[in-house]
C-alpha cells in the first residue's frame, strides 16, 4: 500500500483538509470573476473572516456560529470593494490590493485581545456506514463538516452557473456587460452580489484556518493563502470542478513534498519546497497550450451604463 514510504490514503485525507481554505476562497473568487470582476483582495477578506470567526466562536463557544459570522464579515468587507469598483469605477487591481492592506490591518487590531486563546473546533463527522468502508472511509468520509460544505459549494456553483437562469445572467454579465445591460439586466447589482458571495466564501476559508487548521488567532495567520486561491481560479480556467482539482492538486503537492521529506526520500529540500509553484506553472502551460483559457471576456473592465 505504501509508495516511497508514504501511505496514499493518509495523503489524500490530509490534502483534503489542507486544501479546504484555498478551495473555499477560490470558488468564491470564481463566481466574482465569472461576473467580470477581478478582486485581488482575497487575502484581506480571508484574514478578516479568520479573526471574526475566531472571536465569535470563542465568545459563543460554537464554531458553527463562528463560520457564519466569518462569512458575513467577509461579505461586508467586500462591499467596500464593490462600492468602489462598481459605483465609483475605481481600478480593480489597485482596489483589491488596498482591500488586502485594510483587511490585514483591521484583523490585527480586532484580534489583539484574542491572542493566545484556543478556540472550540469542529469535530470530525465520521459519517455513519460510509466512514467504515475500508480505505475510502478513512480517506474521504471522516472529515469535519466544512470539508463537505466546501465541496457542496463547488457543486452548487457549478449547477447554478450551468443550469440556472441566474447563472446564465451572471455569465452574460461577465462575457459582455454592455450586451447584458442592453438586455435589461442589472449589471451593477449582479456584480455587487457576486462580489459579496466571493467575500463570504473567502471569509469561510479564513475561518477554516483559524478554527480548524490552527485553532488559534495570530496576526497574519493566512500567510498568503489568498494569493494561492487567486492562482487556483486561473489555473482552473474559471470552471468550478477544476477549482476543486486545482486546490486539491496544489494542497496535494504541498503535503506531498512535506511527506517526502518526512519519509526521508533523498531529494534536495530546497527544490521540493518550490515544487508546488513550479508544477502549477507547468500544468498551466499545458492547459493554455491547448487553447482557449475561458477567461470571462469583460474580466477587469469597468462598466459604465451610459456608454
Amino acid at each position: 500500500m505504501d509508495f516511497l514510504g508514504i501511505n496514499p490514503v493518509l495523503l489524500i485525507a490530509s490534502l483534503m483538509v489542507s486544501a479546504t481554505p484555498i478551495l473555499l476562497a477560490a470558488i468564491g473568487e470564481t463566481v466574482v470573476e465569472k461576473s467580470g470582476v477581478l478582486n485581488l483582495g482575497v487575502e484581506g477578506m480571508m484574514i478578516v473572516g479568520a479573526v471574526v470567526g475566531f472571536i465569535t466562536a470563542v465568545n459563543t463557544e460554537n464554531p458553527a456560529i463562528g463560520f457564519v459570522t466569518a462569512a458575513i464579515a467577509g461579505a461586508l468587507l467586500s462591499t467596500i470593494f464593490a462600492t468602489l469598483v462598481l459605483h465609483l469605477k475605481s481600478n480593480q487591481v489597485a482596489t483589491g490590493l488596498g482591500l488586502t492592506l485594510v483587511g490585514l490591518g483591521i484583523s490585527a487590531l480586532l484580534g489583539k485581545p484574542y491572542e493566545g486563546i484556543k478556540s472550540p473546533t469542529l469535530q470530525s463527522l465520521d459519517i455513519p456506514i460510509l466512514a467504515d468502508i475500508p480505505i475510502f472511509g478513512r480517506m474521504l468520509f471522516s472529515h469535519d463538516a466544512m470539508v463537505y460544505v466546501s465541496i457542496l459549494i463547488v457543486g452548487l456553483v457549478w449547477y447554478t452557473l450551468k443550469y440556472t437562469r441566474a447563472g446564465l445572467v451572471l455569465r452574460a454579465v461577465g462575457e459582455n456587460h454592455d450586451a447584458a445591460h442592453a438586455l435589461g439586466y442589472k449589471v451593477i447589482r449582479i456584480r455587487f452580489l457576486a462580489i459579496m458571495f466571493g467575500g463570504a466564501c473567502s471569509g469561510l476559508g479564513g475561518a477554516y484556518i483559524s478554527l480548524v487548521r490552527v485553532p488559534q488567532w495570530t496576526e497574519g495567520m493566512t500567510a498568503g493563502a489568498g494569493w494561492i486561491a487567486l492562482a487556483i481560479v486561473v489555473f482552473a480556467s474559471w470552471k468550478p470542478w477544476r477549482t476543486l482539482i486545482g486546490a486539491y492538486l496544489f494542497g496535494g503537492i504541498t503535503v506531498l513534498q512535506l511527506n517526502l521529506q518526512a519519509a526521508g526520500v533523498a531529494i534536495p529540500v530546497e527544490y521540493l519546497s518550490m515544487s508546488p509553484f513550479l508544477i502549477t506553472i507547468a500544468v498551466l502551460v499545458i492547459i493554455s497550450a491547448r487553447g482557449n483559457q475561458g477567461a470571462p471576456a469583460s474580466l477587469g473592465r469597468p462598466f459604465h451604463a451610459s456608454n
Binding site: L10, S14, A108, E115, V214, T218, L258, A262
Partner: protein
C-alpha cells in the same frame, strides 16, 4: 460631537506627553514580527514589559514591530536614537550589520543585538542556549515515544536550528537507542497552515513525538487532532495545549536580562559584552512538565534540567562523532562555543543531509 471628543483627547494627550518626559532613560526595542505572534517577538515584548514592571516611571520603553531586516531596520534604529533612546535592543539576527552601522553614528547610545556575533564598544550581543532546553525535550521524547520515531519541524537549516536537532537527538538516543529522527524543513518561521501540514506528514510517518522550531501553534493542534502524539511548546509556553499533546516547552525568558542591562545603563556600569546564557541564569526556561509524563520520567528530566543549569553537565559532551563518522568530541570533552555557534553538521546517527 466627534470632533469635540477628538480635540479633547488631543489636548489631553499633549498634557500627558509633557508629563511623560520625566523618565530617566528611554529604552527601545526593534522587533522582527508582530508582538502578537505568540512566539519569538511575543517573548521579547514580555521582556520589555518586565522592564516596565521593574522600573516604572524611571524608564520609558518604546518599540517598533514588524521591522524588516536590512535598510528599514537601520532607519528604525536611527529614529529611536534620534528620539533619545539610551539603550536599544535589536532582536533578530538580521539586524546585526544595521546595529553596528547605527552604533557607529551614536557612540553614546548603547545597543544590544540578539543572536549575532559582531560587537563594538557600545554594542553587546546576547543569545540564549536553547539547545539546553532541547536536551531536556530529547530526553522526554526518547522516553515517551512508542514508535521510536520522532518528528522535527525545522524552519531554515541555520546553526541555531541544527544545534537544537543535534541536542535533542543526542539525548533521545541516550535513553532510547532505537530512536529515529524524521526531519522536515518548512522553509518558513511562521506559516500556520504549512506547519500543520508538516506535523501531519510526520504523524502519518508514524512519529508520535513532534518537535518544532517554527513559531505557530499549528503543530500542537495537528497533534491534538491525531491523538497519541506529544509535542513541546516553542519560544513561548503554549500551555493552552497542555496537558496533552503539549507535555512541556522551551520558553525564552528575556526579562531578567533586559532588566539587568537597563539597570546597568541607569547605574552607568554598562559595558560591551557577549552573553550566551542557558537554563542556569534563567534565560531558557523549561515549561511545566505536564501530568501526561510519568513521574519518574519527569523527575529524570528535571534532574537533567538542573544538571544543565548548574553547569555540571554540558549538552554536548563526548564521545560524539559527526554524521560521517569522523570523531568530534573525545569522551568527557565538551563542545566549545565557537563550534556550537556555527554548527553546520549533524551528529552521528541522524539521517538525511542538511540542505544548502
Amino acid at each position: 460631537m466627534k470632533l469635540k471628543s477628538i480635540l479633547t483627547s488631543a489636548i489631553a494627550a499633549v498634557a500627558l506627553g509633557t508629563a511623560a518626559i520625566a523618565a530617566d532613560i528611554k529604552v527601545g526595542f526593534v522587533y522582527v514580527g508582530p508582538v502578537g505572534d505568540g512566539g519569538w517577538t511575543y517573548e521579547h515584548d514580555q521582556g520589555r514589559k518586565a522592564v516596565v514592571e521593574a522600573f516604572g516611571d524611571r524608564v520609558e520603553t518604546i518599540y517598533q514591530e514588524n521591522v524588516p531586516e536590512g535598510a528599514d531596520s537601520e532607519r528604525v534604529m536611527t529614529q529611536m536614537a534620534l528620539q533619545g533612546a539610551d539603550l536599544i535592543f535589536t532582536t533578530s539576527f538580521g539586524y546585526m550589520d544595521p546595529t553596528i552601522n547605527v552604533a557607529k553614528k551614536f557612540p553614546n547610545v548603547k545597543f544590544e543585538h540578539a543572536t549575532g556575533y559582531k560587537r563594538a564598544d557600545n554594542v553587546s550581543t546576547y543569545s540564549a542556549r536553547f539547545y539546553e532546553g532541547r536536551a531536556v525535550q530529547g530526553h522526554i521524547a526518547g522516553k515517551m515515544t512508542k514508535t521510536n520515531k520522532i518528528g522535527y519541524i525545522g524552519s531554515f537549516p541555520i546553526p541555531e536550528v541544527i544545534r537544537g536537532i543535534n541536542s535533542a537527538y543526542i539525548h533521545a538516543k541516550k535513553v532510547n537507542p532505537d530512536v529515529e529522527f524524521n526531519i522536515v524543513w518548512a522553509y518558513t518561521w511562521f506559516d500556520p497552515a504549512k506547519e500543520a501540514d508538516a506535523a501531519n506528514a510526520l504523524i502519518e510517518q508514524g512519529c508520535d513525538v513532534v518537535l518544532q522550531h517554527t513559531d505557530s501553534t499549528a503543530p500542537q493542534a495537528a497533534a491534538e487532532k491525531a491523538g497519541n502524539v506529544i509535542t513541546f511548546g516553542q519560544a513561548s509556553d503554549m500551555a493552552e495545549f497542555g496537558p496533552l499533546p503539549r507535555v512541556s516547552s522551551i520558553i525564552d525568558d528575556w526579562g531578567p536580562y533586559y532588566v539587568a542591562r537597563t539597570q546597568a545603563v541607569l547605574d552607568g556600569t554598562w559595558t560591551s559584552m557577549d552573553t550566551w546564557d542557558g537554563i542556569g541564569p534563567g534565560m531558557v526556561k523549561i515549561g511545566e512538565i505536564s501530568s501526561a509524563v510519568p513521574a519518574d520520567i519527569k523527575a529524570e528530566a528535571e534532574a537533567l534540567r538542573d544538571a544543565l543549569g548548574s553547569g555540571e553537565y554540558h549538552a554536548f559532551t563526548g564521545p560524539l562523532n559527526k554524521q560521517d563518522g569522523t570523531p568530534w568530541l573525545a569522551a568527557g570533552e565538551t563542545a566549545d562555543d565557537g563550534t556550537l555557534a556555527g554548527m553546520n553538521f549533524y551528529v552521528e546517527g541522524l539521517t538525511g543531509t542538511i540542505p544548502q
